[in-house]
Subunit: 190 residues, 2 copies
Amino acid sequence: MELSPLAGALLGLIGQEPRSGYALRKVFATTPMGVFSDSPGSIYPALKRLAGNGLIAARVENARTLRPRKVYELTAGGRNALGRWLAQPVTRDLVTDGFDLAMLRFVFMPDVLGYAATVDFVAALEAELTRHIADLEHFHRAHAREMPLAPRLGLQSGIEGFRAHARWAARARRTLARPAARERRREKQR
Amino acid sequence: MELSPLAGALLGLIGQEPRSGYALRKVFATTPMGVFSDSPGSIYPALKRLAGNGLIAARVENARTLRPRKVYELTAGGRNALGRWLAQPVTRDLVTDGFDLAMLRFVFMPDVLGYAATVDFVAALEAELTRHIADLEHFHRAHAREMPLAPRLGLQSGIEGFRAHARWAARARRTLARPAARERRREKQR
DNA sequence: GAGACCATGTAATCGGTTACATGATTCA
DNA sequence: TGAATCATGTAACCGATTACATGGTCTC
């Protein structure tokens, strides 16, 4: 019952508004989202699986044509699964194996779990990143002397990437925690 | 004949010195390399495939015991494949879907293709990153107004991550191009 | 003698990618 | 009328992950 990143992305997007497979492909093709493939062979089987698990349901338009258009929306179970996927604890893996997955969850989080949970999530990312950076720096201090030039530069690249993520998290946390920003946005949306 | 990242990592490590499956697992388990799984089910089948393709060959120690130790080394074909894998042109994908793969190639590059090629590679990374950042900033300018807070922050996280990579590339290129650094290292290794 | 570490493998599963396949509609 | 866009699917393949399986060796 663990969602794959693609499944999470699809559920999150369908949760925003009902969408067809084609509409989802366009999102992946035209926005800098998660870097998922927009190929049909990727998305239609994934939607089929989600529908098979009862997490989404299709409203069929233009039935009895050759290719009826299927607009998917979340079921109660789907909304639940999305919530649990987003609420998973922040692990070391989440900040190390590509920050994309963390950002994917972050983007969908406010609408599903609310602002408070999102602030906590970003704070947890920041904490885990800080720990991971400390570990990498420890490794660097211990082994930099005996490492050839390229691996040492590679390690530094990693450390600097994680530092950039940590700086972002600190700033995002402050932005999100500022009530004024939320209020202004809320006003705008009316 | 396209190498997977795992295959490239294995070939690169075996190219440095002959290694057994277990030794390779230990590298993945104890160094911050590429974040590959160190599970046996991951590495042994991969080694088998590489051996099947004639890219590596095993020197068997303790034959006729139950589990003979196999130390793999590169064949001529393997060294060739590694060289071609490293020499692939820098594409947009290489800098966008996880910088890890680029860093993996970077780490093995000097020993196989030499310093000049490595400098070129880093310069190409820098150029491609600069282009990609420009594209993301363009997208940001065009859509930031209508984007909700979380996606906008997510996009900023991406941009800042790529900026960090670009700064690293610029610095690494200068470090690598400085002949003095190379010479000093070369002296040390004697 | 128990536990950690060395050491290699197989089987089942699962999901993503590529390539293939089809056809309607809209606009220049 | 031809190209681009809308729109949905299947089939074959491949490789990574997880769990399972085995047993030797070294050290306390």
